[in-house]
């Protein structure tokens, strides 16, 4: 039972991060290797806001998410938009450089010490016993809830809202969409904003549960195989892929060797590559494009 509970908790963080890769990839066909660092930035924004407004920790959550959203829009406007039409490698390297820059800025602002926003906020992360003898903490339960909410909200947004449909159109064929009056840059910057907004949710949860330091960005890389297994351009694939990889990781730690835990996602990915290179729910011709 505990194994399943752990899987759900881990999968929810993976899902929240993988959604960001997918949304950005669909919009600008760029692998955002600074996703982890953008998440870290949101964590620091949260910490800064919590410390700045003692007694009102709940206000810091939406404020940090807004900051995170704006950061995504800003990255698109300053770094990604000028790279349109240039070699993909260069665009990906720009995001790597952004990651380095963000780490430097965070070091400058907060030093490299480990921080605990939850301790500052005054809330506690308490364990809740579940049926079957498993235990999950408040933050774990919140993460699972948030992962489900975000997936449902995004699904609703893309399926029902006018803007969401425009975003799908722009993702499918930017040129045609632009000719039909879709404001491409608005749509794309919105995609980046959504991506970092969701990463902000993940950052707040992760920093509250584990810790906040300039290194937490590396978990962004761990969610990367999830996005690929699910299909880089498919939101529907994120949830099953996240669950599958989290489960495999937990099984490997428990029954095989803990050392394998960081290789397992990549092994799953390799298997997927040989069977269905475009991912669980991805589009087939996508592999030609990357």
């Amino acid at each position: 039972m505990q194994l399943l509970a752990n899987t759900l908790a881990l999968a929810s963080i993976y899902i929240l991060l993988a959604v960001g890769y997918v949304v950005v990839y669909r919009a600008s066909r760029v692998l955002n290797l600074a996703h982890g660092e953008l998440m870290m930035l949101a964590g620091y924004a949260f910490f800064g806001l919590v410390s700045a407004t003692p007694g009102h920790p709940l206000w810091a959550v939406p404020a940090a998410l807004v900051v995170s959203f704006l950061a995504g829009v800003g990255v698109y406007a300053t770094l990604v938009r000028p790279m349109a039409g240039h070699p993909l490698f260069s665009a990906v390297l720009v995001t790597v450089s952004l990651g380095i820059l963000l780490r430097g800025l965070v070091l400058l602002g907060w030093t490299a010490d480990i921080l605990y926003p939850l301790a500052v906020s005054g809330y506690k992360n308490v364990p809740w016993p579940l049926p079957g003898g498993a235990v999950l903490t408040t933050i774990d339960l919140l993460s699972i809830l948030m992962a489900v909410t975000v997936l449902l909200a995004l699904w609703g947004f893309f399926a029902r809202s006018r803007l969401g449909i425009q975003m799908r159109a722009a993702a499918e064929n930017p040129l045609l969409a632009a000719q039909r009056g879709v404001n491409i840059h608005l749509v794309f910057s919105l995609s980046w904003g959504i991506s970092t907004f969701v990463a902000g949710v993940a950052a707040i949860l992760y920093a509250s549960k584990v810790r906040l330091d300039p290194e937490i960005g590396v978990i962004g890389l761990r969610a990367f195989p999830v996005a690929l297994v699910g299909g880089l351009d498919s939101l529907a694939g994120v949830a099953p892929a996240g669950l599958a990889i989290a489960l495999l990781e937990n099984l490997a730690i428990r029954y095989v060797s803990p050392l394998l835990s960081d290789v397992v996602p990549f092994l799953a990915l390799l298997v997927m590559l040989f069977v269905r290179p475009w991912g669980l729910f991805g589009t087939k011709e996508e592999i030609e494009r990357v």
Partner: protein
């Protein structure tokens, strides 16, 4: 017009005076430090370097050593071996330092060692784990003041657990997957088996680990009533907090790096967290540490890290013993017989001998948190370990 010219001339003269003042002062002792000030390992090392620097500027503000100031050249290696090699070459070959200090990850040790060996410059490991080369038979050029050392820490920790618990110890171990930590945990398990402790589980966590819960629940389900962790800080405290979140009730022991454990004790407020230390922590409220903290604050260090302070005291003592003029060779000779006392911070002196540049005797203390009194209390007073004997014994056990 003439007035303006006179004013300008005066200004120029004053400027010249200001510029040339340092040149008029005594020639300095040149010390170099290569450290992980940024990069992934900065979490551990940045505060150490700041404390080190603050102590050096305190020495300089009090007139230096034998009338000569210390000139500190420091370079950031980001924990990357190639950068550390370049830093060492710059400091040793170009800046001609008499002493090189390494405060960085173990991966940077070998290239720095290669450089100092070619240039016959003494090298002090101050803040990073003590490498094999400083233990007997020691490399003549290499010294270490860091309070932790993988194998003998583990030995002491395991023996403490056996002594402190009434029931049979069922030990689980948690370690980050880096060679030095794995070697330490290997020693803990070997010693544990030898003294009749049951080893129920071991988790080795890859460096990119995001969630510690799966590892901790494995240890919990294995039935561990004690868990020992020896790693960089995030990988010691991470599994512990995950165990707490799982509702685990056993005792947890880790190496207590002063700066983070001081922050962790009041935050967690739990009584089952034991910290093995080779240097005191602030949470105990010792006046000597308070004084050290004040010095650091006065000279611009935003936080204190005791390991950085101990390394700085050692450099100060070594240069004092070297006298003036101080050559690399003379300094190496002086350091080989040096005894460094850091009152209140360490249980006994760091005594180096000809063939032992770790220290002839290592002192340990164990803390736990008293939640009623809201401060750290002693679980085991300062205890001496004879290093040469212990190493011989460990060699037997591990073989």
């Amino acid at each position: 017009m003439a007035g303006t010219f006179r004013v300008l001339a005066w200004l120029a003269f004053m400027a010249l005076l200001v510029i040339s003042t340092p040149a008029l002062a005594q020639e300095p002792y040149k010390v170099g430090i290569t450290a992980a000030i940024t990069g992934p390992a900065a979490v551990e090392y940045a505060a150490r370097v700041e404390t080190f620097r603050a102590y050096m500027s305190k020495v300089n503000s009090e007139g230096g050593i034998n009338g000569h100031p210390i000139q500190l050249g420091y370079e950031d290696d980001r924990g990357e071996p190639a950068r550390a090699a370049t830093n060492a070459k710059k400091l040793v070959e170009q800046d001609k330092v008499v002493l090189l200090v390494n405060t960085s990850v173990s991966a940077t040790y070998k290239p720095v060692m290669a450089t100092v060996t070619e240039a016959k410059t003494p090298l002090l490991f101050g803040g990073g784990v003590c490498p094999q080369e400083v233990f007997p038979p020691a490399n003549p050029l290499m010294f270490c003041t860091t309070s932790f050392a993988a194998q003998i820490d583990s030995d002491f920790a395991v023996r403490f657990m056996k002594e402190a618990s009434k029931d049979k110890v069922r030990l689980g171990t948690a370690t980050m997957d880096i060679p030095i930590a794995r070697i330490g945990i290997d020693a803990a398990e070997a010693v544990g088996r030898k003294i009749g402790i049951e080893i129920v589980g071991r988790v080795t966590m890859p460096p990119g680990t995001a969630d510690f819960t799966p590892f901790s629940s494995k240890l919990k389900d294995a039935g561990a009533n004690w868990v020992f962790a020896w790693s960089p800080w995030s990988f010691e405290i991470g599994p512990y907090e995950a165990l707490l979140n799982l509702g685990w009730q056993g005792n947890y022991m880790l190496y207590g790096h002063q700066q983070p454990i001081d922050a962790a004790y009041p935050r967690l407020n739990r009584e089952n967290l034991y910290a093995l230390v080779g240097a005191s922590i602030l949470a105990e409220g010792l006046p000597e540490l308070k004084a050290m903290q004040e010095i650091a604050a006065k000279h611009g260090a935003s936080r204190l890290d005791v390991e950085g302070g101990v390394a700085a005291v050692a450099v100060h003592e070594a240069l004092k013993a070297c006298g003036w003029p101080c050559s690399r060779e003379k300094l190496q000779g002086a350091m080989s017989g040096l005894s460094i006392t850091v009152k209140g911070v360490k249980g006994g002196p760091i005594q180096w001998s000809r063939d032992n540049h770790f220290r002839t005797e290592q002192w340990y203390k164990v803390y736990r948190w008293d939640s009623a009194r809201q401060r750290a209390v002693t679980a085991k007073e300062w205890t001496k370990v004879d290093v040469a004997e212990k190493l011989k014994e460990l060699r037997e056990i591990i073989k």
